[in-house]
Amino acid sequence: MQKLLELKKLKKYYPIRGGVFRREVNTVRALDCIDLDIYRGECLGVVGESGCGKTTTGKTIIRLQDPTSGSILYYGKDTEPGSGLDIGKAKRSTLKRRGIRSRLQMVFQDPATSLNPRMLAKHIIAEPIKAQIPMRGRELEDRVIELLKMVGLTRDHLLRYPHEFSGGQRQRIAVARAIATDPEFIVLDEPTSALDVSVQAQILNLLKSLQSRLGLTYLFVTHHLLVVKYISHRTAVMYLGKIVEIGDTGNIFKQPIHPYTHALLSGIPIPDVEHKQQRIVLSGDVPSPVNPPSGCRFHTRCPFTLDRCREQEPDLLEVENGHAAACHRHDEVEKLIYEKFGGSQAAA
């Protein structure tokens, strides 16, 4: 599998300003040393709770925000084969000039605010095309209609304002806008969280078909684990700005390694009456990313903390083929959970 993006030691810190002269008093460590490889054509799901940094990851990769340090290597169509371009350090104008800007797109969470309420659907979709190539008139309209058809809408929908559409239709327009410039990589930030269940199914199926049709690579950020299971090939679990586990989606759900992954999986409300829930209820709340705990960040809520966990931060080590976890006790977690909570948490 070819690599499309490679994140090396990516950090994103936000300064908190205080005091009379608004000096930096503290930092929010939204992303702390992320190493991640994204392969061409795959859908990588990123899960975690609020404050874990998953949205920040997506926004930083496509340079909606600038990373504090670290590199983002991009091996795309417009770069020389073999060597990647560090898009983390490149200037915005360079990205635009080399056409890379249009290869990295995003679909936002709330379809109500991601479309300009004063623009017609036609103009919303035409805008990215016009920003890149000077297409106009008939040609532009034909291309917009083609995009609308690809996402399941018709030409009647051209001349309407966003508030005249339903949530699902608005999200389709957002997707059409994202694919308008022929991108390679799309970050999907909770695209179905604001939608109903039946509409969610429609949009997920649409995204799947577009991925195979146009050869796209997705970064699917969500907190809904069942959605991630449906659509992503690989999954990364994040906690407080670090990746704690990553691997093939099937493996993560069948044989989770990290205790946090176990807790997340056991916490999902399953729409199945027969499923007996042995819930791992974590104590306390998520610590603030301003002052993350020392050592392993999860140690304050982990039921199996050792002294080593408090002092030393575990590395993301590959346990099996492609399945990596960051836990000092990764080989005994399964046994510990069985002892403490009884029954296996792994789902079929």
């Binding site: 997920l204 729409p271 009456v273």
Partner: protein, 387 residues
């Protein structure tokens, strides 16, 4: 199971610029004492409007046109059913928070950022339980171990006895407003604070004495939602209505809150009416489920029945569209869009999207029919409607 709440043919309309939105189309549902009833549906189906009509807090420009909302607050006395739509606003004010409480989706919006947590929870006690608290204070004052200065004690006793008899006395209201005389409430407020700390502790919040003096912005989302539940449960209501109370919370916090609700149901509340779009939550915690679509109640059954034997085509489609842990293959989505309720489809409102539409579905709206196992469905495929 005795009936707690029964709505009969509830009709609510919204008068907007685009036309009259027929939000509720003769909704009839029954909630029993001691059960958790889950009201499931997608956005625009009318589940929020239904419970707001029950509580009579429908927003402008909505109007409850027709129907009955009957509550049987006393579990034993079945004849004491009261039609809430006929009662005065004063009666409803006494009812809300005391017998029937409601919690909403956004804990940030439900708490006043300028008042401390203690103040907000005590408000419930001070409004509804004045009489009980005054009686208790009188008892404390007349108890032999009381150490207050004697004349002051007699004075307070008289005031509190009067307050216990008529808590809404006009004179007391005047006293509240005057600078020095409002100090008569000191004991009352202290008693309310004591009860507040108790209920906050009951909800599993650590250090309740400190939390009671803090402000909402000091707390996390999960804590805030617990405080909202504390306010709702302060006066031990018979029915708790939760309008998508856990939708905005993280998975682990949602798990905590659902656990809490389950525990409290046995101790503090009799019944819960839970509104949600998440079938997982329904499977977790509900005893009986009602599915709504476009202002109609399509199907009502026990939770196992709904998952194992869904009869209405919409329920079937909904269950197929939900991502499951063990699912393989493509998620089946439902064709088409939710209808515009200004001009809803004639007959059965689901017929344009239903894979089994018959001729009669286009003409007449189906009636709720009972099919064994306490399972009610409104569909011409099952039971002939009225033939």
């Amino acid at each position: 199971m005795e009936t707690l709440l029964e709505t009969k043919d509830l009709v609510t309309n919204f008068y907007t610029y685009e036309g009259v939105v027929k939000a509720l189309n003769r909704v009839s549902m029954v909630v029993d004492h001691g059960t958790t009833f889950g009201l499931v549906g997608e956005s625009g189906c009318g589940k929020s409007v239904t419970v707001r009509s029950v509580m009579r807090i429908v927003q402008e420009p909505g109007l409850i046109e027709n129907g009955k909302v009957i509550v049987y607050l006393d579990e034993e006395d079945k004849r004491a059913g009261i039609d809430l739509l006929q009662q005065s606003e004063a009666y409803m004010e006494k009812l809300r928070g005391d017998q029937i409480s409601m919690i909403f989706q956004e804990p940030n919006a439900a708490l006043n950022p300028t008042l401390s947590i203690g103040d907000q929870v005590s408000e419930s006690f001070l409004f509804h339980q004045k009489r009980e608290m005054c009686t208790k204070i009188v008892d404390d004052l007349t108890a032999p171990g009381c150490r207050t200065f004697y004349p002051l004690r007699r004075l307070e006793e008289t005031i509190y006895r009067a307050a216990a008899k008529t808590p809404d006395a006009f004179l007391l209201k005047i006293f509240d407003r005057m600078p020095l005389l409002s100090r008569w409430q000191k004991r009352l407020k202290k008693e309310a604070k004591k009860r507040t700390v108790e209920i906050v502790r009951k909800l599993g919040i650590p250090n309740p004495e400190q939390v009671v003096d803090q402000f909402p912005h000091n707390l996390s989302g999960g804590m805030k939602q617990r405080i909202v539940i504390a306010i709702a449960l302060a006066c031990s209501p018979v029915l708790l209505i939760a309008d998508e109370a856990t939708s905005n919370l993280d998975v682990t916090i949602q798990a905590q809150i659902l656990d809490l609700l389950r525990k409290l149901k046995n101790e503090a509340i009799s019944s819960i009416l839970l509104i949600t779009h998440d079938l997982g939550v329904v499977a977790e915690i509900c005893d009986r489920v009602g599915i709504m679509y476009a202002g109609n109640l399509c199907e009502v059954a026990d939770v196992r029945e709904i998952f194992h034997n869904p009869l209405h085509p919409y329920t079937r489609a909904l269950l197929d569209a939900v991502p499951k842990l063990s699912a393989k293959g493509v998620l089946k989505s439902i064709e088409g869009n939710v209808p515009n309720l200004v001009d809803p489809p004639p007959g059965c409102r689901f017929h344009p999207r239903c894979p089994h539409t018959m001729d009669i579905c286009r003409k007449k709206p189906p009636k709720m029919m009972k099919t064994g196992n306490n399972h009610l469905t409104a569909c011409f495929l099952i039971g002939g409607g009225e033939e």
